[in-house]
C-alpha cells in the first residue's frame, strides 16, 4: 500500500463551545492503530475533527511525515472519517456513497468502479451496493461508512466511536473486521472510544484522554497495569488508590498502606500515589510470607463472573475481585477473617 508517514500533534490548544483541548502533544507511528480512550465529553471527537481539518487549531501544529497539515483544508489532508452514526449520504445509494470521494477527486470511471467493487468485496457488502442507507442495519451502515472512507486510500483513518451504536454481537464481529482491515491496508488509524474492551482488543498503543487533556500514552498492558496518575487508575476501574510514600530499608523499597508497610518494585522516592488492581490481590485462609495482611471481610457482591469482596486490612479498605470457587474456601472459615496478599509487582506507584 502507500508509503506511510507518522502523524504528529504538537501543543494543540483549541476551545470550542464547552470543549477545551489543552496543550495536547502526541506522535502516532506509521501504520499504527492508536486508540484514544476517554469518557463521553472528553473532547475525543473534537480532536479527530481537528486532525481532519474541520476545525482550525487555536495554537499548535499538525504534521504528517514532513508535511505541515496545520493550515491545510480538510480536502487536502486525505483523512478518512467515520462517525459514530456513520453519516452516510441518505440521498445516494451505497455504491454512490462509496464512490463519492473517487468522483470528487476525478478518478476515471472504470478505475473508480473497480475500486468500489474491490472495497465492497473486502467489506462483504457487494450485495448491498444498490440499496439506500436507510434500508441497512447499523452494522451494514458501518461497513459502508468504512468502505467510503478507505476507498480514497487515506493517509490517516479517523474512527469516532465506530462501534458504540451496535449490539454486542455485531460489535464483536466488526471489532475483528477493523483489525483485519487494518492489517490488510496498513492505514494509520486513530480510533476514539469509551469502551475498554474495544480499546484493549484493537490498540497497538493507547492514549487516555479526559477533560481535553491527554493523561497517559502507552501499550494497553502498560496503561492497564501501570497507570501514571490517580485519574487514569480511577478511569480504568482501579478501586484501590491511596496516597502513600516510598521508604527504603536494607536496599528494599516499601510503601505504606494504612499501618502496614508493603514491599514494592519502584524507583520512586518520597510521597507517591499507589494503585492496586482488584484482581491482582489474593485472598486466602492461611497467611503467606510476602506482603500478607490480616484482613476482615466487610461485604461480598457478585460482579459478572467474579465476586467483588470488600475487606479491611491495616486500617484501609481494599476491593478484591475473586473467582467464586476461591471465595468458598475462606467463606467457610465463618468469622470473616482472611489473609490478603498483595504481590510486590501488583503495586503500581506514581508520583503524587
Amino acid at each position: 500500500m502507500v508509503r506511510q508517514a507518522a502523524l504528529r500533534l504538537q501543543g494543540i490548544n483549541k476551545r470550542l463551545g464547552n470543549f477545551h483541548l489543552k496543550d495536547l502533544s502526541l506522535e502516532i507511528g506509521p501504520g499504527e492503530y492508536f486508540v484514544l480512550l476517554g469518557p463521553t465529553g472528553a473532547g475525543k471527537t473534537l480532536l479527530l475533527e481537528i486532525i481532519a481539518g474541520i476545525h482550525p487549531v487555536d495554537t499548535g501544529e499538525i504534521w504528517l511525515g514532513g508535511v505541515n497539515l496545520t493550515h491545510l483544508p480538510p480536502e487536502k489532508r486525505r483523512c478518512g472519517f467515520v462517525y459514530q452514526d456513520y453519516a452516510l449520504f441518505p440521498h445516494l445509494t451505497v455504491r454512490k456513497n462509496i464512490a463519492f470521494g473517487l468522483k470528487v477527486n476525478r478518478v476515471p470511471a472504470p478505475e473508480a468502479e473497480k475500486r468500489v467493487e474491490e472495497m465492497a468485496a473486502l467489506l462483504g457488502i457487494t450485495h448491498l451496493l444498490s440499496r439506500f442507507p436507510r434500508t441497512l442495519s447499523g452494522g451494514e451502515q458501518q461497513r459502508v461508512a468504512l468502505a467510503r472512507a478507505l476507498v480514497i486510500k487515506p493517509q490517516v483513518l479517523l474512527l469516532d466511536e465506530p462501534l458504540a451504536a451496535l449490539d454486542p454481537r455485531t460489535k464483536e464481529a466488526l471489532q475483528r473486521e477493523l483489525q483485519r482491515l487494518h492489517r490488510a491496508t496498513g492505514t494509520l488509524t486513530v480510533h476514539v472510544t469509551h469502551d475498554f474492551e474495544e480499546a484493549f482488543f484493537l490498540a497497538d498503543r493507547l492514549g487516555i484522554i479526559d477533560h481535553g487533556e491527554l493523561l497517559q500514552v502507552g501499550s494497553p498492558q502498560e496503561i492497564f497495569s501501570r497507570p501514571s496518575s490517580a485519574r487514569v487508575a480511577a478511569f480504568l476501574g482501579t478501586e484501590n488508590i491511596y496516597r502513600s510514600e516510598v521508604t527504603y530499608t536494607d536496599g528494599k523499597a516499601f510503601v505504606r498502606l494504612g499501618q502496614a508497610l508493603l514491599e514494592v518494585e519502584t524507583s520512586l522516592r518520597g510521597p507517591v500515589g499507589i494503585s492496586i488492581r482488584p484482581e491482582a490481590i489474593i485472598l486466602s485462609s492461611r497467611p503467606q510470607t510476602r506482603n500478607c495482611l490480616a484482613a476482615r471481610v466487610l461485604t461480598i457482591h457478585r460482579r459478572g463472573l467474579f465476586l467483588k469482596v470488600a475487606v479491611e486490612a491495616a486500617g484501609e479498605k481494599l476491593t478484591v475481585l475473586v473467582p467464586p470457587r476461591e471465595a468458598e474456601s475462606f467463606a467457610q472459615a465463618g468469622d470473616g477473617r482472611v489473609y490478603c496478599c498483595i504481590p510486590p509487582a501488583a503495586i503500581n506507584t506514581f508520583p503524587s
Binding site: E75, A87, V104, N105, T135, Q141, I152
Partner: protein, 268 residues
C-alpha cells in the same frame, strides 16, 4: 359537560369553514364563467403577463440572495446570530404598504436613490420597482424556509464530504443541496405565489398606472375603482386559483420536508 365542550368546538369549526368557503365561493361562482372572455381583454392580458414576468424575476432574485444568507445563518458561528436573524425577518412583520413607503423614500428621496437614477436605474413608478417591492416583502419568508431546511441536514455530512475531497461549495452542492430540494421547491413556490399577489408594497413604490405598472392585484384595484365588476371577479378568481394551487403544492412538499434528511442511522 365534556360533550358540550366538544360539540361547541366542532360547531365553530364548521361555521368558520362555511364562512371561508362562502366568501371564496361567491367570487369563484361569479368569476369563473367570465374568465375566458376577460382573459382576452387587453388590460387583463397585460396584467397577467406583467405579474408573471415580475414575480418570476423577484423570485429568482430572492433565491440568489436568500440561499447564501440562509446557509450563513444555519452554519456559521456568528456573534449575535439570533438578533441578526430577527433583523432579517423585519419585512415579514411590517404591513406591506409600510414596506412600500420605506422603499419609496429610500429610492426616491435619498442620495442613494438619486445616485441610482443617475445610473439609469429607476425604481420609483417603474417595472423594476415592482420587482424590488416583491423582493423586499418576500425574501424573509424564503430565508426562513431555507434556513430551517439547511439546519435539518446534519452538518457532519458536509464534514465527511470535505474529508473526501470536497471544497466547502462542492460539499454544499453535492450533499446539502440535494437534501434540501423539497424545502427549496416549496420555498420557491411560496415566494412566487406571494409575489403574484403582492399589492401594498408594489402600489407604494411602483404606483398603479394602466398598461405600465398594472400587475394582477393592481389591475383588480383599478377595475374596482372604475366599477368594472366582471373584470374584478375574473382577476380575483385567477388569483384565488393560483393561491390554492401553490398552497396544495407547498403543503405536500412541506409534509415531506418534515422528515429527517439524515441521522436515520439509529432508527434503522
Amino acid at each position: 359537560m365534556g360533550k358540550a365542550f366538544k360539540t361547541g368546538n366542532l360547531i365553530l369549526l364548521c361555521l368558520l369553514l362555511t364562512f371561508i368557503l362562502a366568501a371564496i365561493g361567491t367570487v369563484l361562482v361569479r368569476g369563473l364563467p367570465d374568465l375566458p372572455a376577460t382573459f382576452k381583454a387587453p388590460p387583463t392580458l397585460f396584467a397577467a403577463r406583467l405579474s408573471l414576468v415580475t414575480s418570476l424575476a423577484s423570485t429568482a432574485l430572492c433565491l440568489v440572495v436568500a440561499a447564501p444568507v440562509a446557509y450563513a445563518l444555519a452554519r456559521y458561528r456568528l456573534p449575535g446570530k439570533g438578533l441578526l436573524a430577527s433583523a432579517l425577518r423585519i419585512p415579514l412583520t411590517l404591513p406591506p404598504i409600510v414596506s412600500g413607503v420605506c422603499l419609496l423614500l429610500l429610492f426616491g428621496t435619498t442620495g442613494f436613490g438619486e445616485a441610482l437614477t443617475r445610473l439609469g436605474l429607476r425604481f420609483v413608478f417603474s417595472v423594476p420597482g415592482i420587482i424590488i417591492a416583491q423582493f423586499f416583502v418576500n425574501v424573509p419568508s424564503l430565508l426562513t424556509v431555507l434556513k430551517a431546511a439547511i439546519e435539518a441536514v446534519d452538518v457532519r455530512l458536509e464534514y465527511v464530504a470535505r474529508t473526501l475531497g470536497c471544497s466547502p461549495a462542492k460539499a454544499f452542492t453535492g450533499v446539502t443541496l440535494p437534501l434540501v430540494k423539497n424545502g427549496l421547491v416549496a420555498g420557491i413556490i411560496l415566494t412566487w405565489s406571494k409575489a403574484m399577489g403582492e399589492f401594498g408594497a408594489v402600489l407604494m413604490l411602483a404606483g398603479a398606472t394602466r398598461f405600465k405598472t398594472e400587475t394582477l392585484p393592481i389591475s383588480l384595484y383599478l377595475n374596482m375603482s372604475t366599477g368594472d365588476l366582471e373584470a374584478v371577479m375574473a382577476v380575483a378568481t385567477l388569483l384565488i386559483l393560483l393561491s390554492l394551487t401553490s398552497l396544495t403544492i407547498f403543503e405536500r412538499l412541506g409534509a415531506r420536508l418534515g422528515q429527517p434528511a439524515t441521522g436515520e442511522a439509529n432508527k434503522a
